[in-house]
């Protein structure tokens, strides 16, 4: 189990390209996050949890991140918490099999009230 967790963490780090050790625990990511109240874990926690190898908890709860990348933009240390979430989502998708979003499915899912940004964001989240 321990090795499994370790492999999982390493995979997240490798896929995301994030160096979690650069985090200085300032919390600017969580101060920036527009979806803070919606999430079980907050951006500064993602980073700490990955650093401590607690990836499986994140894999069960990461769907409320908007992928707005505000935390990536504002992090003073260049840590990019949202990229960890992207990587974790990718791992979930991989474990579930090939169920991700394809470009030709998009038109059927659209209605005129969906903002453009949401489509782009959803595509970014579920197309990898």
């Amino acid at each position: 189990m321990q090795t499994f967790k370790k492999n999982l963490t390493e995979q997240v780090l490798r896929t995301s390209g994030v160096n979690v050790r650069k985090c200085m625990r300032c919390g600017k990511c969580s101060g920036s996050c527009p979806s803070y109240e919606e999430m079980d874990y907050h951006p500064h926690q993602f980073v700490y949890m990955v650093e401590k190898g607690d990836v499986d908890a994140l894999m069960k709860s990461n769907y409320r991140c908007l992928s707005c990348m505000a935390c990536v933009e504002r992090c003073p240390r260049g840590v990019a918490p949202a990229k960890l979430i992207e990587a974790i989502r990718l791992m979930v998708v991989r474990q579930q099999g090939q169920n991700h979003l394809k470009a030709d499915q998009i038109p059927a899912l659209l209605d005129k009230d969906i903002p453009q940004q949401a489509i782009v964001s959803a595509f970014r989240k579920y197309s990898k």
Binding site: C26, G27, S30, G31, Y36, H42, H44, Q45, P76
Partner: protein
């Protein structure tokens, strides 16, 4: 043939840990010229040095090779050892087998092989060494201090008190620097002006101090003990020695809408201005970019109202050349600009201010006469949020990677002063870490929390959003409660990172003084020579070397002064005998060396030469002034005909070293 002794140092395990020192001593024993070879745990110790001295005497050595640490560490030590044993100090060479060998290798065979090669190169060089005699150069007993803030003023006062003449060159119209803009000082909360202005007056009145305010350095020539500096005195369009500083002109000047730099643009000044009441020198200055008279020739009101007849619209920039023995850099700092931090809405709301601006707001002589009011509408703010580390500790490229060091303390000061004067104000401080190392510093910060009820919250602010009702919505995280906060604030104060003044880089080039990647001047040794630049004769005072608070700046300023006094107290300086000389027979008079010499040590002479056909020809040949030459070697590599050579590092010696390495 030389008789060379080889001395291999273990440096405890520093060298012996990765280099087989016995094997090195044995291998070098058979090199040409070597008559003695040994190793010892600490060559720099008294016993070690005695081994060297005895070996020189007993074996009548003509040269020595010490395989040890970098020459930057112990070259002087071992030169003294050689001299004590009757050997010319320049017959001693160091093979650096520590920094360049044992410290960078991990396995013994590689380290040992490299140490032997480095030793062989040094031996090959010593075989060609000739004894050199160091000359002497005089010392100009006058110091230059660049920058007239608290660092520059303190250094100048200390040097002047020791009896030497000092000139302060300050680029703004008055001395005083950043400290003059501050309201109170931590951790005692005494007023900055009350402790600074007496020093400014002392500096102005001291018989040994000359202040060149509104002036800049344009050229630096020479070397330690003998600098020649050109100072540009910018035209004030006011006769400095005639102006009484009455200020009538500033009141009558019709151009009144110019941003006042002293109050960081938060109020206006006139085109002719005196920066602040206690300015030194207290004389008016005309801002040529805004003066109607200077721009169009139609006004002249200041000249009409001046009872002292001090106004002179025809004044020109003046260039003064002065000689100095030592130069102190005290160029100080500035807060960074905030264009990379749009999330804090600094450019969008006048109620978001930097800490230095807040300092002016609190100051009785500031834009609000010391009343704490919002810049946007003049209403007293009820909720103020302080954000720490804005642009500090930032490796993302938006700010500075270092800690600005002073922000934790001045923010605690601001918070405390605010709560003291206006107990109805709610004060929040968002921090990452509170760094209060310093005497009475942590106690000061704790007072802010415990006695003044300032809300310290661990977490960074993510964004500041100006709202329609004039409030500022501060969104931040509280990392301890694990909550996101939304505070409706009336004012936001940004503890902005500090950076070296922009003038420092061009100055460093003129002084050939080195800087780090942040444009702070580097010291000769981070621990043991903290106030000296690696360039001889250049000293560092204050924040130009790194972020510092006032007590630390004053201590460092004093330390720099002591180093300057130590230099100026000498009548003669021993020159470096490793200087260039030209072979007149080979010199073709091309002037290449003259152009590359950074010290201006090379001149050309017209000289008579006997030609092979018994006629006499006049040829132009290079001549090196040995007192000015610093032995950098630029000329020797430039010379196309191989006429230039450097004593102690001759072309033959260098080639012999290369040969020994490649052998």
């Amino acid at each position: 043939m030389q008789k060379i002794g080889v001395f291999v140092c273990h440096c405890g395990t520093n060298i012996a840990g990765t280099v087989d020192v016995h094997a090195v001593a044995e291998a070098l024993r058979n090199e040409p010229g070597v008559v003695f070879s040994t190793d010892y745990p600490y060559m720099c110790s008294e016993t070690g040095q005695n081994i060297i001295k005895n070996a020189i005497r007993d074996n009548e050595l003509t040269g020595a090779v010490i395989c040890s640490c970098s020459p930057r560490m112990h070259e002087v030590t071992f030169r003294k050892t050689a001299t004590a044993a009757g050997l010319n100090p320049y017959m001693m060479e160091i093979a650096n087998i520590r920094e360049q060998c044992s410290w960078i290798h991990k396995d013994m065979p590689t380290g040992t092989a490299k140490a032997i090669v480095l030793g062989k190169a040094a031996i090959a060089k010593v075989n060609l060494n000739v004894p050199l005699i160091a000359g002497e150069s005089p010392v100009t007993k006058r110091a230059l201090v660049i920058g007239g803030g608290i660092a520059g003023i303190q250094t100048a006062l200390d040097i002047a008190e020791a009896g030497f003449e000092v000139d302060i060159v300050e680029k703004s119209p008055t001395i005083g620097g950043k400290m003059a803009q501050m309201d109170k000082t931590f951790p005692t909360l005494d007023c900055a002006a009350c402790i600074l202005t007496p020093k400014m007056v002392d500096a102005a009145q001291h018989e040994n101090i000359t202040i060149y305010a509104y002036s800049e350095i344009t050229e630096v020539k020479g070397f330690v003990g003998n600098f020649t500096v050109t100072i540009k005195k910018k035209a004030r369009y006011v006769k400095e020695n005639v102006c009484t500083g009455c200020g009538d002109c500033t009141k009558k000047c019709p151009q009144k809408k110019i941003k006042n730099e002293f109050n960081l643009g938060m109020n206006n000044r006139s085109a002719i201005y005196i920066p602040f009441a206690q300015a030194v020198p207290k004389v008016a200055t005309i801002d040529p970019d805004h003066c109607t008279m200077l721009k169009t020739g139609k006004c002249g009101i200041c000249a009409k109202v001046c009872t002292a007849n001090a106004i002179d619209y025809t004044q020109k920039d003046e260039y003064i050349e002065e000689k100095y023995g030592a130069i102190v850099v005290a160029t100080g700092y500035n807060p960074i600009t905030l264009e990379n931090f749009d999330e804090f809405a600094y450019s969008r709301s006048p109620d978001v201010v930097t800490s230095l601006e807040y300092e002016r707001i609190l100051n009785a002589a500031g834009p609000t006469d010391g009343k704490l009011v919002r810049p946007s509408d003049g209403v007293h703010p009820k909720t103020i949020v302080f954000i720490q580390c804005v642009g500090s500790r930032d490796t993302s490229g938006c700010g500075k990677q270092y800690c600005s060091k002073v922000c934790c303390m001045y923010t605690a000061k601001h918070a405390m002063l605010t709560r003291e004067k206006y107990p109805d104000t709610d004060v929040y401080v968002f921090y990452i870490d509170v760094r209060t190392a310093g005497k009475n510093f942590d106690e000061f910060y704790r007072r802010a929390v415990e006695d003044y009820d300032v809300h310290y919250i661990k977490g960074m602010v993510g964004k500041v959003a100006p709202m329609a009702d004039g409030k500022l919505m501060v969104q931040a995280s509280d990392l301890i409660l694990n909550e996101q906060l939304h505070i409706m604030a009336d004012m936001v104060v940004l503890a902005t990172a500090i950076e070296p003044d922009k003038s420092a880089r061009s100055l460093a080039t003129m002084l050939t003084a080195s800087m780090d990647t942040n444009d702070f001047f580097t010291e000769a040794h981070a621990k043991l020579r903290p106030v000296e630049s690696p360039t001889a004769g250049i000293f560092l005072s204050g924040t130009c070397q790194g972020p510092k608070d006032i007590p630390e700046t004053v201590s460092q300023a004093g330390a720099a002064a002591v180093k300057v006094i130590g230099l100026l107290a000498k009548n003669k300086l021993t020159c470096n005998p490793c200087v260039a000389h030209s072979d007149e027979q080979l010199c073709n008079g091309c002037s290449s060396c003259e152009k590359v010499c950074p010290y201006g040590a090379i001149t050309y002479l017209e000289k008579e030469f006997r030609m092979p056909d018994r006629t006499t020809a006049i040829r132009r040949v290079a001549s090196v002034n040995a007192a000015v030459c610093q032995g950098c070697g630029a000329c020797t590599v430039t010379c196309p005909s191989g006429a230039m050579d450097l004593d102690g590092f001759s072309n033959r010696q260098i080639m012999a070293e290369v040969d020994a390495i490649c052998r």
